[in-house]
């Protein structure tokens, strides 16, 4: 592999800028609760939420502890809809090193019907001029799916 050492000379010979990089393989565990959500999303194309009965909050994505009352929510699973409402959005035109699709990307926060929380994803099959907060959306699944939130291709306007 080509060594990354490069030194840039700035102003005069007494000042240097070294160009390097750090490259370490990493991984992240979804955990028992997160894994169940992701595998059901992949296998059954359904969104699951975790409900705190006491606080009447449905978390999507799910979590194992209620942030309000600290109750342990192990298996109070509820299914929420694959349809929802756009809470807010932005359009990213500048490509970055780690992005999930080609630019421009419309990122949106979608409140799925039945969920208390917002779910971050992308929007598609929509003209930029037609984007409105509060618009109704429908999940579009990829034909080949990993156990990842990218099993959903994007959300499109609900006709």
């Amino acid at each position: 592999m080509q060594i990354q050492d490069r030194v840039e000379q700035v102003d005069d010979l007494d000042r240097y800028v070294y160009h390097g990089r750090i490259d370490i393989p990493n991984s992240y565990s979804a955990g028992t609760v997160g894994s169940h959500f992701l595998t059901e999303l992949r296998d059954k194309k359904i969104f699951l939420g975790m409900k705190c009965e006491k606080c009447n909050v449905v978390y999507v994505p799910p979590r194992s502890t209620c942030k309000y009352c600290f109750a342990k929510m192990d298996d109070s699973w509820v299914e929420v809809a694959d349809k929802g409402t756009l809470l807010t959005y932005t359009v990213n035109f500048a490509p970055t090193a780690a992005q999930p699709a080609e630019s421009p990307i419309i990122y949106g926060i979608v409140q799925l019907d039945g969920a208390t929380t917002g779910f971050v994803h992308m929007l598609g099959e929509v003209d930029l001029e037609d984007l409105r907060i509060g618009m109704r959306l429908q999940a579009v699944f990829k034909p080949e799916r990993d156990a990842s939130i990218l099993a959903v291709k994007y959300f499109k306007p609900l006709k």
Binding site: S27, Y28, S29, G31, T32, F70, K72
Partner: protein
């Protein structure tokens, strides 16, 4: 000195190499719940949360952002500390300052690291600047390897003495339900037969990469009086920093350097009237990434004369039933979730003071205990605990 501060809750996870069953916040949550149960408190009773983690070792920045809600810190005050290997003890000192200053009555300190997320040695290697050590740095282990060589040359000790330390650690770990590596080692020969990682350090001479978390709950004197759990008082904390020795971060081959360990312990001993450390202090939990480092630390904390650290282990003085037990928990060489490792030292020392260490409770009555931390360029953080002040 400020208000008195006591540890009134202690909790930790079972430490393992891999925890695919929990996300990082869920793992921390386990230690938080254990500490709350120990203190017989609820999450709502905690006023502030102080966290410790070696940021980016899990490959993500600002891990505290992704877990505040899930560890009961929603809308709480607090902060995260990252000072390298000492993080988990710096946070112990930092939270102590807050409570001693009277800003809070009940706070939680939590250290954590989920090392199945990345390559820790690579992450430590990346901590060296491109100016120094790029291409020659090999994480912490390369530094401790060179230091082991220096110790051997200078003290006249042999590999067998380091192996005795490893054997002692494993004995403790096998008695400690939470410890990570429980190898059931029987003999020195077994350790000397393990392969070299970075010469002269063998596989069994160095600490593992663990996933785990450890939580402590502090209370001010007035709050502690209303609580069920026996308080363990934080008698003193000390933090000493320096830049790395330009050649070798942990062992100074020049013989010229002042060690932060010596500066830190001399300050603590003076302030607390400690004249004969292994008599006045009843046991210690040392931060020893390698068995050789434990021998070094005996000397730097003045538990013995220079060059004689190996004699302490040879005579069995630092065994669980010895006159001055060191690391009855099995120590870092058995369990090493980095951001939690120094917090575990304090937790284990506090359990010994409380008399609640269970199977690895030391024979000697522990009214005073010391926990140490080591990290970064040979930084030192000390915590002195007492049954009564």
């Amino acid at each position: 000195m400020g208000n008195r501060v006591a540890i009134v809750g202690i909790g930790q996870t079972y430490h393992k190499s891999n925890r695919p069953d929990v996300s990082q916040p869920e793992m921390v949550n386990e230690a938080v719940r254990a500490a709350l149960a120990d203190a017989q408190l609820e999450a709502k009773d905690i006023e502030a949360s102080f966290l410790s983690n070696m940021e980016t070792f899990e490959g993500i920045y600002l891990p505290d952002h992704g877990m505040a809600d899930e560890i009961g810190a929603y809308m709480r005050s607090g902060l995260k500390v990252c000072t390298g290997g000492t993080s988990g003890a710096s946070v112990v000192a930092e939270a102590f300052h807050y409570v001693a200053a009277g800003l809070f009555d009940v706070v939680m300190v939590t250290g954590f690291e989920k090392q199945d997320c990345g390559d820790t040695t690579a992450a430590i290697t990346a901590a060296c600047t491109p100016v120094w050590g790029k291409g020659v740095a090999t994480g912490a282990i390369g530094e401790f390897a060179k230091q082991a060589l220096t110790y051997m040359e200078n003290s006249g000790s042999r590999e067998e003495h380091a192996a005795m330390v490893r054997l002692k650690a494993d004995r403790g770990a096998c008695l400690n339900p939470y410890a990570h590596l429980k190898l059931g080692l029987k003999s020195i020969e077994e350790i000397l037969a393990s392969g070299y990682l970075v010469w002269p350090l063998r596989l069994l001479d160095f600490c593992p990469q663990s996933c785990g978390a450890c939580a402590l709950i502090y209370a001010s004197e007035s709050a502690a009086k209303k609580m069920a759990q026996k308080p363990v008082w934080i008698a003193d904390v000390e933090t000493v920093h320096q830049e790395p020795f330009r050649a070798g971060s942990f062992g100074d081959p020049t013989g010229l350097e002042t060690y932060t360990q010596e500066v830190a312990c001399e300050r603590v001993y003076k302030r607390n009237g400690i004249t004969d450390p292994i008599k006045d202090i009843c046991m210690a939990e040392l931060y020893e990434p390698s068995n050789w480092e434990e021998l070094n630390l005996y000397e730097r904390f003045h538990f013995c004369e220079k060059g004689e650290g190996w004699k302490l282990v040879e005579k069995g003085i630092t065994e669980i039933e010895g006159a001055f037990p060191v690391n009855p928990s099995g120590g870092v060489i058995a369990t090493n979730p980095i951001g939690a490792t120094p917090t575990i030292r304090v937790a284990e020392a506090a359990l010994q003071v409380r008399g609640d260490a269970g199977p690895h409770q030391v024979t000697r009555d522990v009214h005073t205990a010391m926990a140490t931390a080591l990290g970064g360029p040979n930084w030192t953080v000390l915590t002195l605990l007492k049954r009564s002040l």
